[in-house]
Symmetry: C2
């Protein structure tokens, strides 16, 4: 059965069946012209939208449907996390090729709704339409944060330490593995790959999971905002180099990054090295790490460490903000200018 | 120059250049991980998203770029109007084919931003990405309304009068004209059609404008909500029959529609009749009329008339809500069941 066999109403009913009961702040949910929510008092509302397009942001050859749904929402949750906002409502808009299997449609919705439930985010509405081309998923999220606690990219000051959460480079290494495996598989066998491909080692699987099922750092972002540990904050969806440059520009500071301090997992280092690539360069350029990059004043160091402990996410000091402008990489005792590498031509292929 | 020659940043800068200064309720606008807005106190927030896809919802053969942008936003504003909400913020997400001309990109943004300014809606953020297929535009809007004033589809009661704003059928007649003109033009000349095609009469142009540049009834919706004139309300994006059915279902009432009362413009009647089509059937089925369909209690009739006068939009009583279920069409002294006609198969071509 493909989605072309069903009506929009049928498809909406399949989504509704997966949703928990409406929370009290949702006077009107799915089924009217628009959703109506009641924001909390004295809280700002944070809005974000992200689109993922088949063939650009995901490849159904190695992304199972629930992974597609998970990733479509994770991108947005990561943006809320970077603002220090607690997730609240989501709108799900999809342009669907008529030939899409209904099972795959259900799988996409399941992946998204499962991740939403983990973060107490409620799907309050959306839009379904046909696509004569690729599958396009567009998710809008809203979140709330107190006015004085919003984390922006512009709050860094010279002397601040620069931290990153979790690990970087794992998603990029995982994507490369998935692409290689899919390529070799497709030449011999037409069946769809999944992550439980038996030829992947445990280390490999850790890398592919980092790409397929990223965990947006929502709790860490909220805690860093609440205890005012972070000055500036951004998520790394477009890569570490890009993130460092954007904070430096928005905050008008320089940033020096220590190559040796970067938390690149051993498995990712090995994977990059086996292909003759420099692990540091790869980890700096790689997108798809839904980690947070943030700056911390000297006297707020303990608060940052406390937030990380409470969130259960390791954080690593990878550099510092400097008075003089420019972004540099410190490596083997030398400082070299670091390019942003995130500013790819719009038409060119990019990892995210 | 095509969008493939520019970076995402270049394109965002072109959008920002068209925006008015940020209002006071927008602490963080375009350029951070997410936008931050400050909703008013004691007001509910209304959220809506709509996607338009090239080849499904619009045809660039006869929709100039500013029309595409206008329509992408009009769909959403119409949803806010149907809830009685005053527009506030919009997020603009686009999936762009690399070969799209930058002039066309600019034109789309202009059409959208111009309509936004007319309704005091501010573009606060969005997302741009590549599309390997059609142009996809996804607009999310937020609006505000007082809790007791929200208009839903569920507020109709037996005995209420049923009203429609403006005219119906004009957009459908206009679309048919545009398609015919485009077909005949394309066989002789490859150049792009615009609405000022000299072969269209004044009447024709009124119809094509109804399709190309619909005016969402935002002010009327807000006024109907404020003076509590309307019980139930819906917008007619999916057609009058569909709207009547949806109010009847959500409110658990029957609705009788008087065929002779339908405000179908003479030019549209003539256009339908010249193709051997029944004007009433066409107007009932036709989508793309961004009018409001609403119900009014007997004692609130004056309030509804006052709201319409203040908004400067004619309203027409086209029927009434009945105790017994079912939707019927009264015509030439007979009552016949009216099908919803809006529930087309998801894969099938539909007017909107």
């Amino acid at each position: 059965v493909t989605v072309g066999d069903l009506t929009e109403r049928d498809l909406i009913a399949r989504i509704q069946a997966k949703l928990p009961p409406a929370p009290s702040w949702l006077p009107v949910g799915i089924g009217d012209d628009a959703a109506v929510v009641e924001p909390e008092r004295n809280r700002l509302e944070v809005l974000s939208v992200d689109t993922i397009v088949e063939g650009v942001h995901f490849d159904r050859a190695f992304c199972p449907p629930d992974v597609v749904g998970h990733r479509a929402l994770a991108v947005n949750l990561s943006d809320l996390a970077a603002m220090g906002a607690a997730p609240r409502a989501a709108l799900l808009a999809m342009a669907l090729p008529a030939a899409l299997e209904v099972d795959d449609f259900d799988g996409i919705v399941s992946g998204l709704v499962t991740l939403a439930a983990e973060h107490r985010l409620h799907v309050v509405g959306g839009n379904l339409t046909r696509s004569p081309g690729p599958l396009v998923i567009d998710v809008t999220v809203t979140g709330t944060v107190k006015r004085r606690q919003v984390l922006t990219r512009g709050g860094a000051k010279p002397g601040d330490a620069v931290y990153v959460s979790g690990a970087i480079g794992a998603a990029r290494a995982g994507l490369a593995l998935l692409q290689m495996t899919a390529d070799s598989r497709l030449t011999t066998d037409d069946s769809r790959l999944t992550t439980d491909d038996s030829r992947l080692t445990t280390d490999d699987r850790r890398l592919t999971t980092a790409y397929l099922r990223p965990s947006p750092r929502v709790r860490l972002g909220v805690l860093l905002a609440r205890n005012r540990a972070a000055g500036a904050c951004i998520d790394l969806s477009d890569g570490l180099s890009d993130g460092v440059h954007r904070i430096a520009e928005a905050s008008r500071v320089g940033i020096a990054v220590d190559a040796d301090a970067l938390p690149i997992p051993a498995a990712a280092r090995a994977a990059f090295a086996s292909r003759g690539c420099d692990p540091v360069a790869e980890a700096l350029a790689g997108g798809d790490d839904y980690e947070l990059l943030f700056t911390v004043r000297r006297r707020r160091t303990r608060s940052a460490v406390a937030a990380a402990k409470l969130a259960g996410i390791p954080i690593t000091r990878i550099g510092e903000c400097t008075e003089r402008g420019g972004v540099v990489l410190r490596r083997a005792g030398a400082e070299t200018p670091l390019s942003s590498m995130g500013y790819s031509h719009f038409g060119a292929a990019s990892p995210a």
